[in-house]
């Protein structure tokens, strides 16, 4: 552990509210394996879909890298953008 003693972490893990809530639901007959699998699968799917969506995002365009520096692009910065485009093999405007 980088910042905490492992003993401290173990002590607090026993008080983990998620585990305690699960035990509470089980004791009241409100939790079974099928429900748990469903929750896990839907949570994993949500995360995986979000990752896929993020990875499918196109890279920012060169214009995009420059466009939000000022409310409107100063002429000198516009010249640099054209130079960046030429360096990247894009046609200058």
């Amino acid at each position: 552990m980088k910042y905490r003693d492992s003993g401290d972490v173990a002590a607090w893990e026993k008080k983990d509210p998620i585990g305690r809530f699960q035990a509470h639901l089980k004791a009241r007959g409100l939790w079974d394996e099928a429900f748990e699998n469903g929750v896990r699968e839907s949570a994993a799917a949500t995360v995986e879909n979000a990752v896929a969506e993020a990875e499918a995002m196109p890279s920012a365009s060169l214009e995009d890298l420059f466009a939000f520096t000022y409310a409107s692009m100063p002429p000198g910065l516009r010249e640099q953008l054209d130079e960046a485009r030429a360096a990247a093999g894009e046609d200058p405007r």
Binding site: S59, A60, L65, F66, G76, Q80, A84, A87, A88
Partner: protein, 324 residues
């Protein structure tokens, strides 16, 4: 030993801590964790928590405490985790570190080292890719050093620790582990204020530092294929600058190109161009050119390759100089 830059710096820190009991190291995660780039690995075990001090996430406090240490005779080395994290400490650095010697008419010098990784090229997040060296070069009283090799990293840091002035050592993140070099095991100094000729040439002078030195070297090889002979100067200390080295080289070659990854406007390239204009105008066969980062916030990882200079961009400007 055969060392990466990170290992060379670790060795310099260990040697200085051993050599001089006034030397102490402080910063975020420098102790138990050994530093975010492992640069301080093992030092707290070797020298103890009174000399290798983990600080809270408070850059201003770390630098402020270090100023107090210098007043009591210590020689602290503060690590700032990334150059982009240094801004909370600006008031301490500019208002006190840089001018306490002057304010006290020399009675309280500030023999303090601030070392920090800087620059783009490691696919990092916002605030982890900055190259704002010009901000510090603009402040009288600060010395600013930037190594580009393991040998220079070790020697410049030793010189910085032994200097009676505050020295900011900027360590190019991209070069921490990109190569190895045979360096002496023992301590040695690379003098502050002295540039290094990386490659001799006759047609133009390329001035670079830090992570742009290897970029300039690759560009010089491409230029040689075109029949253009480029001399490369690694400034090593940005301020006070080795003016004689820059001017002397440009007087011989007649052409100058500055390569830095910082934004162009008010970057150090402007100062170098002005220096050459003031001292070597009649030697020039072409205007001084700059290849730099764009005047934008350093982009996020996917786009950073578009930001800092590459050998092809440098070669385009070499061509402009040679065909002027």
């Amino acid at each position: 030993m055969n060392a990466t830059m990170a290992q060379a710096i670790n060795q310099a820190l260990a040697l200085e801590l051993r050599r001089d009991e006034r030397v102490v190291l402080l910063g975020e995660d420098v102790g138990k964790d050994g530093g975010v780039f492992r640069v301080t690995d093992g030092l707290v075990d070797a020298f103890g928590p009174e000399r290798v001090i983990d600080t809270p996430l408070a850059e201003s406090a770390a630098v402020g405490v270090a100023i107090g240490m210098t007043a009591l005779g210590l020689r602290p080395i503060v690590e700032i985790q990334f150059l982009g994290f240094i801004y909370p400490a600006f008031n301490q650095i500019i208002s006190h570190v840089a001018r306490l010697r002057n304010r006290t008419r020399g009675r309280f010098p500030v023999p303090l080292v601030i070392r920090t990784p800087y620059g783009a090229g490691v696919r990092a997040l916002e605030h982890h890719s900055e190259s704002t060296e010009a901000l510090f070069c603009h402040i009288p009283g600060l010395t600013v050093a930037v190594p580009s090799t393991p040998y220079d990293a070790k020697g410049l840091l030793a010189a910085a620790v032994r200097s009676d002035d505050p020295v900011i050592v900027l360590e190019p993140t991209r070069l921490y582990r990109s190569g190895r070099q045979e360096i002496p095991d023992e301590a040695y100094e690379v003098p502050l204020g002295r540039a290094r000729v990386v490659r001799e040439g006759t047609d133009l002078t390329i001035v670079a530092w830090g992570a742009m030195v290897p970029v300039a070297e690759k560009a010089a090889i491409l230029a040689a294929e075109k029949g253009w002979s480029a001399e490369i100067l690694d400034l090593r200390t940005l301020s006070p600058m080795d003016r004689e080295a820059v001017v002397g080289s440009v007087k011989r070659t007649g052409r100058a190109l500055v390569v830095h990854e910082a934004a162009k406007t008010c970057g150090l390239g402007a100062e170098i161009a002005a220096l050459i204009g003031e001292t070597a105008l009649l030697s020039l066969k072409a205007p001084v050119l700059r290849v730099t980062g764009w005047d934008i916030t350093p982009p996020l990882p996917k786009s950073e390759d578009h930001y800092y200079p590459n050998p092809e961009r440098v070669l385009r400007s070499v061509r402009r100089l040679m065909e002027f």
